[in-house]
Protein backbone atom coordinates (compact mmCIF):
# COMPACT_ATOMS: atom_id res chain seq x y z
CA UNK A 1 0.00 0.00 0.00
CA UNK A 2 2.86 2.32 0.91
CA UNK A 3 4.67 1.48 -2.35
CA UNK A 4 1.49 2.24 -4.31
CA UNK A 5 1.19 5.63 -2.63
CA UNK A 6 4.85 6.42 -3.35
CA UNK A 7 4.34 5.46 -7.02
CA UNK A 8 1.27 7.70 -7.29
CA UNK A 9 3.04 10.66 -5.70
CA UNK A 10 6.20 10.16 -7.80
CA UNK A 11 4.24 10.00 -11.06
CA UNK A 12 2.07 13.00 -10.23
CA UNK A 13 5.14 15.02 -9.20
CA UNK A 14 6.83 14.01 -12.47
CA UNK A 15 3.79 15.11 -14.53
CA UNK A 16 3.40 18.43 -12.73
CA UNK A 17 7.18 19.04 -12.74
CA UNK A 18 7.45 18.33 -16.49
CA UNK A 19 4.57 20.69 -17.27
CA UNK A 20 6.00 23.38 -15.00
CA UNK A 21 9.46 23.00 -16.57
CA UNK A 22 8.04 23.24 -20.09
CA UNK A 23 5.89 26.29 -19.39
CA UNK A 24 8.70 27.91 -17.42
CA UNK A 25 10.99 27.56 -20.40
CA UNK A 26 8.30 28.89 -22.73
CA UNK A 27 7.87 31.88 -20.43
CA UNK A 28 11.62 32.56 -20.34
CA UNK A 29 11.69 32.18 -24.14
CA UNK A 30 8.92 34.77 -24.46
CA UNK A 31 11.03 37.09 -22.34
CA UNK A 32 13.70 36.94 -25.01
CA UNK A 33 11.37 38.56 -27.49
CA UNK A 34 12.84 41.88 -26.49
CA UNK A 35 14.37 43.19 -29.76
CA UNK A 36 17.68 43.75 -28.02
CA UNK A 37 18.11 40.10 -27.12
CA UNK A 38 16.22 38.41 -29.94
CA UNK A 39 18.24 36.05 -32.05
CA UNK A 40 18.17 37.42 -35.58
CA UNK A 41 18.67 35.79 -38.93
CA UNK A 42 20.87 37.66 -41.35
CA UNK A 43 18.60 40.05 -43.24
CA UNK A 44 18.80 39.85 -47.05
CA UNK A 45 20.98 42.95 -47.40
CA UNK A 46 23.23 42.40 -44.38
CA UNK A 47 26.78 43.66 -44.55
CA UNK A 48 29.33 41.17 -45.82
CA UNK A 49 26.77 39.28 -47.86
CA UNK A 50 26.48 39.27 -51.62
CA UNK A 51 23.43 41.22 -52.82
CA UNK A 52 22.69 38.40 -55.30
CA UNK A 53 22.60 34.98 -53.77
CA UNK A 54 20.55 31.87 -53.13
CA UNK A 55 19.79 30.66 -49.61
CA UNK A 56 18.88 27.05 -48.85
CA UNK A 57 17.04 26.89 -45.53
CA UNK A 58 16.29 23.82 -43.50
CA UNK A 59 13.50 24.72 -41.08
CA UNK A 60 13.32 22.50 -38.03
CA UNK A 61 11.60 22.38 -34.64
CA UNK A 62 13.19 21.76 -31.25
CA UNK A 63 11.92 18.15 -31.03
CA UNK A 64 13.71 16.07 -33.67
CA UNK A 65 12.66 12.85 -35.32
CA UNK A 66 14.80 10.37 -37.31
CA UNK A 67 13.22 11.49 -40.61
CA UNK A 68 13.87 15.16 -39.79
CA UNK A 69 17.55 14.48 -39.10
CA UNK A 70 17.81 12.47 -42.34
CA UNK A 71 16.29 15.35 -44.34
CA UNK A 72 18.77 17.78 -42.81
CA UNK A 73 21.75 15.48 -43.46
CA UNK A 74 20.77 14.66 -47.06
CA UNK A 75 20.11 18.33 -47.87
CA UNK A 76 23.42 19.40 -46.37
CA UNK A 77 25.18 16.68 -48.37
CA UNK A 78 23.39 17.73 -51.57
CA UNK A 79 24.39 21.37 -51.10
CA UNK A 80 27.99 20.75 -50.00
CA UNK A 81 28.77 18.08 -52.59
CA UNK A 82 27.05 19.80 -55.51
CA UNK A 83 27.84 23.48 -54.99
CA UNK A 84 31.07 23.77 -53.02
CA UNK A 85 32.35 26.69 -55.20
CA UNK A 86 29.11 28.64 -54.84
CA UNK A 87 29.14 28.06 -51.08
CA UNK A 88 32.73 29.30 -50.85
CA UNK A 89 32.21 32.51 -52.82
CA UNK A 90 28.88 33.33 -51.07
CA UNK A 91 26.57 32.86 -54.08
CA UNK A 92 24.93 30.09 -52.07
CA UNK A 93 24.19 29.94 -48.34
CA UNK A 94 23.06 27.00 -46.21
CA UNK A 95 21.12 27.80 -43.03
CA UNK A 96 19.42 25.62 -40.44
CA UNK A 97 16.72 27.54 -38.55
CA UNK A 98 14.75 26.39 -35.51
CA UNK A 99 11.34 28.00 -36.03
CA UNK A 100 10.48 27.57 -32.34
CA UNK A 101 13.29 29.87 -31.21
CA UNK A 102 12.26 33.42 -30.34
CA UNK A 103 12.23 35.68 -33.36
CA UNK A 104 11.98 32.86 -35.92
CA UNK A 105 8.20 32.41 -35.88
CA UNK A 106 7.77 34.70 -38.91
CA UNK A 107 9.32 32.04 -41.15
CA UNK A 108 6.22 29.86 -40.56
CA UNK A 109 4.01 32.58 -42.07
CA UNK A 110 6.53 33.78 -44.68
CA UNK A 111 7.00 30.34 -46.26
CA UNK A 112 3.73 28.70 -45.13
CA UNK A 113 5.59 25.96 -43.27
CA UNK A 114 3.48 23.03 -42.05
CA UNK A 115 6.31 20.59 -41.24
CA UNK A 116 10.10 20.52 -41.19
CA UNK A 117 10.93 21.88 -44.63
CA UNK A 118 13.66 22.70 -47.12
CA UNK A 119 13.09 26.08 -48.77
CA UNK A 120 15.19 27.68 -51.52
CA UNK A 121 15.17 31.48 -51.60
CA UNK A 122 16.51 33.74 -54.35
CA UNK A 123 17.83 37.18 -53.38
CA UNK A 124 18.54 39.84 -56.04
CA UNK A 125 19.94 43.26 -55.15
CA UNK A 126 19.44 42.40 -51.49
CA UNK A 127 15.73 41.65 -51.89
CA UNK A 128 13.94 38.34 -51.90
CA UNK A 129 12.57 37.75 -55.40
CA UNK A 130 11.20 34.21 -55.21
CA UNK A 131 11.16 31.08 -53.07
CA UNK A 132 10.20 27.45 -53.31
CA UNK A 133 9.36 24.86 -50.68
CA UNK A 134 10.98 21.59 -51.81
CA UNK A 135 7.99 19.58 -50.64
CA UNK A 136 9.08 16.36 -52.37
CA UNK A 137 11.79 15.81 -49.74
CA UNK A 138 9.31 13.84 -47.61
CA UNK A 139 8.43 11.53 -50.51
CA UNK A 140 12.07 10.91 -51.46
CA UNK A 141 13.30 10.16 -47.95
CA UNK A 142 13.72 6.47 -48.69
CA UNK A 143 15.90 7.05 -51.77
CA UNK A 144 19.07 8.95 -50.90
CA UNK A 145 20.29 9.33 -54.50
CA UNK A 146 16.92 10.60 -55.75
CA UNK A 147 16.66 12.98 -52.77
CA UNK A 148 20.10 14.49 -53.39
CA UNK A 149 19.43 14.69 -57.14
CA UNK A 150 16.13 16.50 -56.52
CA UNK A 151 17.64 19.08 -54.14
CA UNK A 152 20.63 19.70 -56.46
CA UNK A 153 18.35 20.15 -59.48
CA UNK A 154 16.16 22.70 -57.70
CA UNK A 155 19.07 24.62 -56.13
CA UNK A 156 20.99 24.52 -59.43
CA UNK A 157 18.01 26.04 -61.26
CA UNK A 158 17.83 28.89 -58.73
CA UNK A 159 21.60 29.51 -59.01
CA UNK A 160 21.31 29.72 -62.80
CA UNK A 161 18.31 32.02 -62.47
CA UNK A 162 16.01 29.57 -64.31
Amino acid sequence: MKAKRIAVIALLVFVVGSLAYSFGREFRGAGLSDPGTRKKENPPGAAGQRPDRVVVYYFRATARCPSCITIENYTREAVESGFSDALRDGRLQWQVVNVEEPGNGHFIRDYRLYAQSVVVVEIRDGRQTRWKNLDQVWNLLGDRAAFIGYVQKEVGAYLKGD
Binding site: L11, Y114, A115, D135
Partner: protein
Protein backbone atom coordinates in the same frame (compact mmCIF):
# COMPACT_ATOMS: atom_id res chain seq x y z
CA UNK B 1 -15.41 9.22 -60.94
CA UNK B 2 -11.96 7.79 -61.67
CA UNK B 3 -10.35 10.88 -60.15
CA UNK B 4 -12.42 10.50 -57.00
CA UNK B 5 -11.52 6.80 -56.73
CA UNK B 6 -7.84 7.62 -57.20
CA UNK B 7 -8.13 10.36 -54.61
CA UNK B 8 -9.86 7.96 -52.19
CA UNK B 9 -7.11 5.37 -52.68
CA UNK B 10 -4.44 8.03 -52.15
CA UNK B 11 -6.13 9.31 -48.97
CA UNK B 12 -6.38 5.81 -47.51
CA UNK B 13 -2.75 5.09 -48.44
CA UNK B 14 -1.56 8.37 -46.89
CA UNK B 15 -3.34 7.33 -43.69
CA UNK B 16 -1.67 3.91 -43.67
CA UNK B 17 1.71 5.56 -44.36
CA UNK B 18 1.15 7.90 -41.41
CA UNK B 19 0.43 4.99 -39.13
CA UNK B 20 3.42 2.84 -40.15
CA UNK B 21 5.97 5.66 -40.05
CA UNK B 22 8.32 5.42 -37.06
CA UNK B 23 7.40 8.78 -35.59
CA UNK B 24 3.98 7.92 -34.05
CA UNK B 25 5.37 4.62 -32.72
CA UNK B 26 4.78 5.44 -29.04
CA UNK B 27 1.10 6.26 -29.53
CA UNK B 28 0.58 3.24 -31.80
CA UNK B 29 2.04 0.86 -29.21
CA UNK B 30 -0.23 2.42 -26.59
CA UNK B 31 -3.27 2.05 -28.90
CA UNK B 32 -2.46 -1.58 -29.80
CA UNK B 33 -2.10 -2.53 -26.15
CA UNK B 34 -5.26 -0.61 -25.16
CA UNK B 35 -7.44 -2.32 -27.78
CA UNK B 36 -5.75 -5.71 -27.36
CA UNK B 37 -6.15 -5.70 -23.57
CA UNK B 38 -9.75 -6.97 -23.78
CA UNK B 39 -8.37 -10.46 -24.29
CA UNK B 40 -11.35 -12.40 -23.01
CA UNK B 41 -14.05 -10.27 -24.63
CA UNK B 42 -14.10 -10.27 -28.43
CA UNK B 43 -17.08 -7.89 -28.58
CA UNK B 44 -15.33 -5.37 -26.34
CA UNK B 45 -12.16 -5.62 -28.41
CA UNK B 46 -14.05 -5.01 -31.67
CA UNK B 47 -16.00 -2.11 -30.15
CA UNK B 48 -12.80 -0.56 -28.77
CA UNK B 49 -11.22 -0.86 -32.22
CA UNK B 50 -14.24 0.73 -33.89
CA UNK B 51 -14.39 3.57 -31.38
CA UNK B 52 -10.64 4.19 -31.71
CA UNK B 53 -11.08 4.40 -35.51
CA UNK B 54 -14.13 6.63 -35.09
CA UNK B 55 -12.20 8.94 -32.75
CA UNK B 56 -9.32 9.31 -35.20
CA UNK B 57 -11.69 9.79 -38.14
CA UNK B 58 -13.72 12.42 -36.29
CA UNK B 59 -10.55 14.36 -35.41
CA UNK B 60 -9.20 14.37 -38.99
CA UNK B 61 -12.64 15.06 -40.45
CA UNK B 62 -13.18 18.12 -38.21
CA UNK B 63 -9.70 19.39 -38.98
CA UNK B 64 -10.20 18.67 -42.70
CA UNK B 65 -13.43 20.70 -42.81
CA UNK B 66 -11.81 23.65 -40.98
CA UNK B 67 -8.74 23.61 -43.25
CA UNK B 68 -10.36 22.89 -46.63
CA UNK B 69 -13.01 25.57 -46.12
CA UNK B 70 -10.26 28.00 -45.13
CA UNK B 71 -11.48 28.65 -41.57
CA UNK B 72 -8.08 27.57 -40.23
CA UNK B 73 -4.71 28.39 -41.78
CA UNK B 74 -2.61 25.30 -42.61
CA UNK B 75 0.75 26.54 -41.26
CA UNK B 76 -0.70 27.92 -38.04
CA UNK B 77 -2.89 24.88 -37.30
CA UNK B 78 -0.02 22.50 -38.06
CA UNK B 79 2.51 24.28 -35.90
CA UNK B 80 0.07 24.82 -33.05
CA UNK B 81 -0.94 21.13 -32.93
CA UNK B 82 2.66 19.91 -33.26
CA UNK B 83 3.80 22.23 -30.51
CA UNK B 84 1.02 21.90 -27.92
CA UNK B 85 -0.78 18.57 -28.45
CA UNK B 86 2.44 16.61 -28.10
CA UNK B 87 3.09 18.36 -24.80
CA UNK B 88 -0.24 17.08 -23.50
CA UNK B 89 0.44 13.56 -24.69
CA UNK B 90 2.87 12.55 -21.90
CA UNK B 91 0.66 13.68 -18.98
CA UNK B 92 -2.47 12.18 -20.62
CA UNK B 93 -0.76 8.79 -21.13
CA UNK B 94 0.64 8.72 -17.58
CA UNK B 95 -2.75 9.58 -16.03
CA UNK B 96 -4.55 7.03 -18.25
CA UNK B 97 -1.94 4.40 -17.28
CA UNK B 98 -2.46 5.19 -13.60
CA UNK B 99 -6.21 4.65 -13.97
CA UNK B 100 -5.67 1.41 -15.85
CA UNK B 101 -3.42 0.18 -13.03
CA UNK B 102 -5.97 1.47 -10.52
CA UNK B 103 -3.35 3.67 -8.91
CA UNK B 104 -5.90 6.47 -9.18
CA UNK B 105 -9.66 6.11 -8.91
CA UNK B 106 -12.37 8.37 -10.31
CA UNK B 107 -13.91 8.81 -6.84
CA UNK B 108 -11.00 10.85 -5.54
CA UNK B 109 -12.23 13.12 -2.77
CA UNK B 110 -12.71 16.72 -3.73
CA UNK B 111 -13.20 16.09 -7.45
CA UNK B 112 -16.19 17.72 -9.10
CA UNK B 113 -18.36 15.75 -11.52
CA UNK B 114 -16.83 17.55 -14.53
CA UNK B 115 -13.40 16.35 -13.44
CA UNK B 116 -14.58 12.79 -12.84
CA UNK B 117 -15.97 12.33 -16.35
CA UNK B 118 -12.65 12.32 -18.27
CA UNK B 119 -11.15 10.02 -15.65
CA UNK B 120 -13.99 7.54 -16.12
CA UNK B 121 -13.52 7.78 -19.87
CA UNK B 122 -9.86 6.86 -19.51
CA UNK B 123 -10.78 3.73 -17.59
CA UNK B 124 -13.78 2.76 -19.64
CA UNK B 125 -13.43 0.47 -22.62
CA UNK B 126 -14.68 1.77 -25.93
CA UNK B 127 -15.37 5.39 -24.93
CA UNK B 128 -11.80 5.58 -23.67
CA UNK B 129 -10.64 4.12 -26.98
CA UNK B 130 -12.55 6.81 -28.88
CA UNK B 131 -11.02 9.55 -26.73
CA UNK B 132 -7.56 8.09 -27.22
CA UNK B 133 -8.20 8.09 -30.99
CA UNK B 134 -8.98 11.83 -30.92
CA UNK B 135 -5.97 12.72 -28.73
CA UNK B 136 -3.51 10.55 -30.69
CA UNK B 137 -4.78 11.82 -34.05
CA UNK B 138 -4.29 15.45 -33.06
CA UNK B 139 -0.79 14.81 -31.66
CA UNK B 140 0.99 15.44 -34.93
CA UNK B 141 4.65 14.56 -35.30
CA UNK B 142 6.74 15.90 -38.23
CA UNK B 143 6.01 12.91 -40.51
CA UNK B 144 2.27 12.82 -39.84
CA UNK B 145 2.12 16.63 -40.23
CA UNK B 146 3.88 16.40 -43.60
CA UNK B 147 1.53 13.67 -44.80
CA UNK B 148 -1.67 15.28 -43.50
CA UNK B 149 -1.02 18.99 -44.12
CA UNK B 150 1.22 18.54 -47.15
CA UNK B 151 -0.40 15.47 -48.75
CA UNK B 152 -4.00 14.98 -47.72
CA UNK B 153 -5.19 18.59 -47.38
CA UNK B 154 -3.92 19.72 -50.83
CA UNK B 155 -5.54 16.58 -52.28
CA UNK B 156 -8.83 17.35 -50.51
CA UNK B 157 -8.74 20.97 -51.71
CA UNK B 158 -8.08 19.81 -55.28
CA UNK B 159 -10.95 17.30 -55.13
CA UNK B 160 -13.22 19.69 -53.21
CA UNK B 161 -13.69 17.00 -50.56
CA UNK B 162 -13.60 18.26 -47.00
CA UNK B 163 -15.37 15.23 -45.47
CA UNK B 164 -14.86 12.07 -47.55
CA UNK B 165 -11.09 12.11 -48.07
CA UNK B 166 -10.14 13.20 -44.50
CA UNK B 167 -12.46 10.43 -43.20
CA UNK B 168 -10.73 7.83 -45.36
CA UNK B 169 -7.37 9.14 -44.17
CA UNK B 170 -8.55 8.70 -40.54
CA UNK B 171 -9.62 5.11 -41.25
CA UNK B 172 -6.25 4.48 -42.93
CA UNK B 173 -4.34 5.71 -39.88
CA UNK B 174 -6.23 3.25 -37.67
CA UNK B 175 -6.02 0.16 -39.93
CA UNK B 176 -2.48 -1.09 -39.09
CA UNK B 177 -3.12 -0.51 -35.37
CA UNK B 178 -6.42 -2.43 -35.55
CA UNK B 179 -4.80 -5.27 -37.48
CA UNK B 180 -2.01 -5.65 -34.89
CA UNK B 181 -4.37 -5.25 -31.93
CA UNK B 182 -6.79 -7.90 -33.22
CA UNK B 183 -3.93 -10.23 -34.08
CA UNK B 184 -2.49 -9.82 -30.60
CA UNK B 185 -5.86 -9.98 -28.83
CA UNK B 186 -7.34 -12.96 -30.66
CA UNK B 187 -4.00 -14.81 -30.68
CA UNK B 188 -3.68 -14.41 -26.92
CA UNK B 189 -7.34 -15.35 -26.48
CA UNK B 190 -6.84 -18.60 -28.40
CA UNK B 191 -3.70 -19.42 -26.44
CA UNK B 192 -5.43 -18.52 -23.18
CA UNK B 193 -8.41 -20.76 -23.93
CA UNK B 194 -6.12 -23.61 -25.01
CA UNK B 195 -4.20 -23.46 -21.75
CA UNK B 196 -7.25 -22.54 -19.63
CA UNK B 197 -5.53 -19.37 -18.42
CA UNK B 198 -7.79 -16.68 -19.88
CA UNK B 199 -8.55 -14.87 -16.60
CA UNK B 200 -4.89 -14.76 -15.70
CA UNK B 201 -3.96 -13.44 -19.16
CA UNK B 202 -6.66 -10.78 -18.93
CA UNK B 203 -5.31 -9.63 -15.57
CA UNK B 204 -1.80 -9.36 -16.99
CA UNK B 205 -2.99 -7.68 -20.22
CA UNK B 206 -4.60 -4.85 -18.23
CA UNK B 207 -1.50 -4.34 -16.12
CA UNK B 208 0.91 -4.51 -19.05
CA UNK B 209 -1.22 -1.91 -20.88
CA UNK B 210 -1.14 0.37 -17.84
CA UNK B 211 2.64 0.00 -17.48
CA UNK B 212 3.11 0.62 -21.23
CA UNK B 213 0.98 3.76 -21.03
CA UNK B 214 3.06 5.10 -18.14
CA UNK B 215 6.34 4.21 -19.89
CA UNK B 216 5.21 5.89 -23.14
CA UNK B 217 3.97 8.88 -21.15
CA UNK B 218 7.32 9.29 -19.40
CA UNK B 219 9.06 8.99 -22.79
CA UNK B 220 6.75 11.67 -24.29
CA UNK B 221 7.33 13.97 -21.27
CA UNK B 222 11.09 13.69 -21.76
CA UNK B 223 10.87 14.33 -25.51
CA UNK B 224 8.19 17.04 -25.68
CA UNK B 225 8.18 18.74 -22.26
CA UNK B 226 11.69 18.36 -20.84
CA UNK B 227 13.15 18.21 -24.39
CA UNK B 228 16.00 15.82 -23.77
CA UNK B 229 17.90 15.34 -27.03
Amino acid sequence: MDTLLLGAGAALWLGILTSISPCPLATNIAAVSYIGKHVGNARMMLLSGLFYTAGRTAAYLSLGVLLVTGILSIPEASNFLQKYMNRLLGPVLILAGMFLLELLRPNLPGLRLSEKVPLRLARSGYWGAGLLGVVFALSFCPVSAALFFGGLIPLSVKQGSSVFLPSLYGIGTALPVLFLAFLLGFGTQTAGKAFNRLNQIEWWARRITGILFIAMGIYCCFVYLIRLP
